[in-house]
């Protein structure tokens, strides 16, 4: 399979990339790791006339602390997320999730920015970013703006990005020390997209849930932030009856497709099972 012809551009700064995308218009696409876009181009489902490769922009790399946040450059690869000692100690759910994305070769090349910006409901990072309350830095024609992950996803492959925008970084508030976390993903085989998956972040105080946040992957056209389910759990001891109510609330907001990963009703139930498991595992890791 050979993609259609295109002209290749390799800018060395974000400004240059944004300028190119603005000038070239709808026929241009930014390419990050390319592991979603190149397969689409091979199938001729995408036929951009211009590719703007973000791989030569040093500013889009790296993981740094900024006050109470950690800021991760959009071109940081999954492999770099897995290898980061800073992330392993401060936001360990990222390493846990990255290791469940695709396979080693894809993780060496696939980027965090591409994973969250593409709007594919099967991608794992968007629900985790909603769970963490991440903020996306977006550079466009009229300058930089910041969009909350929880407001970013509008439909399958539809996001708050507009033509010519480049997602440059992901800003994540560092969760409190001693927090519990888990990303539970049901998949048919290693490397697969989720049949259903749940991300949980919680803090405990005196045996009760002090705060809780829940994200769900691949059980709707967008990743989901299960706010009501999390609210039900706050203040509880994670007793079975309360967990059951929260799981029902989470299942209620799902709207999965019936596909090769199973019928919709099954995938909804599996979202509930993944959430139940993620809550138990997050609880076991949390202090307090």
């Amino acid at each position: 399979m050979i993609p259609g012809s295109f002209e290749y551009h390799r800018p060395s700064s974000v400004q240059e990339a944004v300028g190119l995308l603005a000038k070239l218009g709808d026929d241009s696409r930014a390419i990050a790791g390319g592991h979603s876009l190149i397969p689409m181009m091979k199938l001729r489902l995408a036929t951009p006339a211009h590719l703007v490769d973000l791989g030569g922009i040093a500013d889009l790399k790296g993981i740094r602390t900024d006050g109470d946040d950690i800021v991760i450059g959009a071109m940081t690869t999954q492999h770099e997320l897995v290898s980061s000692d800073l992330l392993a100690s401060k936001i360990p759910i990222l390493r846990e999730t990255s290791l469940q994305v695709a396979d080693p070769q894809v993780r060496y090349v696939g980027t965090l920015g591409g994973n969250v910006a593409n709007g594919d409901p099967g991608n794992d990072m968007p629900a985790v970013m909603m769970c963490l309350g991440a903020i996306y830095h977006v550079m466009g024609k009229s300058g930089e703006r910041r969009v909350a992950a929880r407001d970013f996803y509008q439909g399958a492959y539809f996001t708050a990005l507009e033509g010519g925008d480049v997602l440059t970084a992901v800003r994540i508030p560092v969760p409190p020390a001693g927090h519990g976390y888990a990303y539970e993903k049901l998949k048919r085989k290693i490397g697969d997209y989720a049949t259903a998956a749940a991300a949980v972040l919680l803090t405990m105080s005196g045996g009760k849930v002090a705060s809780c946040s829940i994200g769900l992957t691949n059980v709707a056209e967008t990743p989901l932030w299960a706010e009501e389910a999390a609210n039900i759990l706050e203040g509880s001891t994670l007793d079975a009856a309360t967990v059951k109510r929260a799981v029902a609330a989470a299942e209620a907001i799902t709207a999965p497709a019936s596909d090769a990963r199973g019928p919709a009703a099954y995938r909804t139930k599996m979202a509930g099972v993944m959430l139940t498991r993620a809550l138990a595992r997050a609880r076991s890791k949390a202090h307090g």
Binding site: F6, H35, I38, L51, A102, D103, P104, Q105
Partner: protein, 166 residues
């Protein structure tokens, strides 16, 4: 479409060429450089038969354009043998442990296992299986591939290879 000039180092040899932007790295390696060790299996980034080592990473060369590899240092299965022509530890391991049957996946398997052992010189069986999860084999059932990598790890570490009890 205008061609682009690329230069890279492939198996220790400097290479310069003109490529169309849409030329995939696997097609460039196989058709322009005549390095037919990396195979085209699925063409959909799943099977890993096209795996090459690029700047210290295992990469599926069917999912990268040759222009993106401009300036890169690449190693394919053709560059794996020792300088004197003898088999390197992984190649020897695959032969000794019967780590292949039809051989189609083998170049990708060995190239991937090379990077795995560079990053972790004494992997457990579980780490080997997780580390080669991006490479499909439809013949062996993987048992002997795992043994072959364990054999190579033992040889590189200068210790005798001990087969796990069945």
């Amino acid at each position: 479409m205008a061609k682009s000039q690329v230069s890279m180092e492939v198996n220790g040899r400097a290479v310069e060429a003109l490529v169309e932007p849409r030329t995939l790295l696997i097609h460039f390696l196989r058709e322009q450089l005549r390095l037919t060790g990396p195979h085209i299996g699925c063409e959909t980034s799943h099977c890993g038969a096209c795996t090459v080592d690029l700047n210290g990473k295992s990469v599926k060369s069917c999912t990268m354009f040759a222009v993106q590899a401009n300036g890169a240092n690449i190693r394919t299965i053709e560059g794996m043998a020792n300088p004197d022509g003898t088999l390197d530890a992984l190649q020897e391991g695959f032969r000794e442990m019967h780590g292949l049957q039809c051989g189609f996946c083998t170049p990708g398997m060995i190239t991937r296992a090379y990077r795995l052992l560079q990053e972790n010189n004494n992997p457990s069986e579980e780490e080997i299986r997780f580390g080669i999860a991006g490479n499909l084999c439809r013949c062996t059932g993987y048992q002997n591939i795992v043994r072959a990598i364990q054999y190579a790890a033992a040889k590189l570490n200068g210790v005798p290879f001990q087969e796990a009890a069945e």
